[in-house]
């Protein structure tokens, strides 16, 4: 009869209890912060003189963009840890970071596109460095998934994913420089996505929105990671029982 103390159970790797913030607290914090941010953005922050109500999307656009960068940086950090420590959990964490990064990156493209349409009447602005950079990164990290899904799970998939994630962070500054350089040869700068001048409530609103997005991303990361670890554990269990 299988029991937790039997020899078979000893081979199941422990999911690991670290001193981490419990998930329900995180979820609650996300809810509170996002709601606060929404309230601040739509009701408290002053209306921009030039762009009017539509400029409010900017608070989310920038905070989501920073969050996406943080996810990609986190993915590269976890990838580095995987390569140096060979810890399969680091590979899983890196993957989940990339996943979150792509989700938030998609949101950047969507919010940026909406803002462009409202402000300038066009769904896409090649002149916006931020948008073009995210488009390139979006393509890059989508290829990450294609790479990952065309490999069987194992050390090789983890190795290649980790190396690719590291390439990603090198690509970010290089692409940014390239896009800036390209401006001079492609077309003159006509439209830009400017932020408001910071001060007072605008700063407060932005900071709340930024923290809210970061906490939200971290919560989603923890949820997805927990789900994947549980999958892995179930697989191990079913093998032991088989």
């Amino acid at each position: 009869m299988w029991s937790p103390s039997s020899p078979a159970a000893a081979t199941i790797p422990d999911v690991g209890r670290t001193a981490r913030i419990p998930l329900p607290a995180l979820a609650a914090a996300s809810l509170v912060l996002v709601t606060t941010a929404l309230v601040l953005v739509f009701f408290v922050a002053p209306t921009d003189a030039n762009q009017g109500f539509s400029q409010r999307i900017f608070y989310f656009h920038v905070s989501i963009a920073i969050t996406a960068y943080a996810c990609f940086a986190g993915a590269a950090w976890k990838a580095f840890r995987y390569l140096s420590k060979r810890d399969p959990r680091a590979d899983l964490e890196s993957y989940v970071c990339v996943h979150q990064g792509v989700i938030f990156g998609t949101l950047v493209l969507l919010t940026g596109s909406i803002w462009a349409k409202i402000s300038w009447g066009r769904w896409w602005l090649w002149s916006s460095d931020q948008l073009v950079l995210f488009l390139v990164l979006f393509l890059f990290y989508c290829a990450y998934f294609m790479l990952r899904f065309s490999l069987d799970p194992g050390p090789q998939r983890a190795n290649l994913s980790a190396v690719y994630a590291l390439f990603g962070v090198v690509l970010i500054p290089v692409s940014f420089a390239a896009i800036r350089l390209a401006k001079d040869i492609i077309h003159p700068v006509v439209f830009t996505l400017h932020g408001p001048n910071f001060g007072g409530w605008i700063l407060v609103t932005y900071c709340v929105a930024q923290v809210a997005m970061l906490i939200l991303a971290y919560t989603l990361y923890r949820v997805e990671l927990a789900g994947k670890l549980l999958d892995g554990r179930l697989r191990e269990l079913s093998e032991v029982l088989a």
Partner: protein, 212 residues
């Protein structure tokens, strides 16, 4: 020094293989010529120099992809990568040797492609040639690295362009910029930066690509 001897032995092997097989280089030449003809029909009458320079770089990029897709085929089909990995040579030597060999093929293809372009469309300046040299280095360094990754997957040929194109965008910016801008030095400098940065990253991480 033995590192470079290993690179030499491996590069020699790659060049020998291509000379015997004689399929990649002719394919690249034929491809680039065909692409130029397609451009003629795809562009409106008497296209500007700017438009055709852009297309030149698209042609170079896709011709390179053709060659890069073939780079690790012997190692994959005959499993000889195992043989190379068993030897005490540094893993990065495998990447460097393959990049140099691919660079040689790409350069050979361009020796024909560039004069052909000049004849079909517009003459080429010195800055463009310099850009070709620098861009080739970046294309071969990164492309060979990604080719080794793609070869290990199920999707293989399908995957290489997807992995390569986002990373190739900065190369295109630098190369086209150097070809059309009034002061190409900035763009050429950017290409040097790209080449140096990614060559180091590729060199340092290739061992993880071949490890199982």
């Amino acid at each position: 020094m033995s590192y470079f001897r290993d690179v030499g032995a491996l590069a020699r092997k790659d060049l020998l293989l291509e000379l015997r097989a004689r399929d990649t280089l002719p394919a690249m030449l034929l491809f680039v010529a065909s692409v130029f003809v397609v451009f003629h029909f795809a562009l409106p009458a008497s296209p500007s120099r700017l438009a055709t320079i852009g297309l030149l770089w698209v042609a170079i990029l896709f011709t390179a992809l053709l060659g890069l897709g073939r780079a690790f085929v012997p190692e994959r089909e005959q499993r000889t990568m195992d043989g190379l990995v068993l030897t005490p040579c540094d893993r990065s030597a495998i990447w460097l040797a393959k990049s140099l060999a691919t660079l040689a093929f790409l350069a050979a293809a361009e020796v024909v492609a560039l004069p052909l372009y000049a004849v079909f469309f517009h003459p080429i300046g010195g800055a463009t040639v310099a850009a070709v040299v620098l861009a080739d280095i970046g294309i071969c360094a990164v492309g060979t690295f990604l080719g080794a990754m793609a070869v290990a997957t199920r999707a293989r040929d399908l995957l290489l362009p997807l992995l390569f194109l986002p990373l190739a965008i900065p190369i295109v910016v630098g190369a086209v910029g150097a070809s059309v801008a009034a002061s190409p030095a900035r763009y050429l400098g950017f290409l040097v930066l790209y080449d140096a940065l990614f060559a180091v990253v590729c060199w340092a991480s290739f061992e993880y690509v071949v490890a199982e």
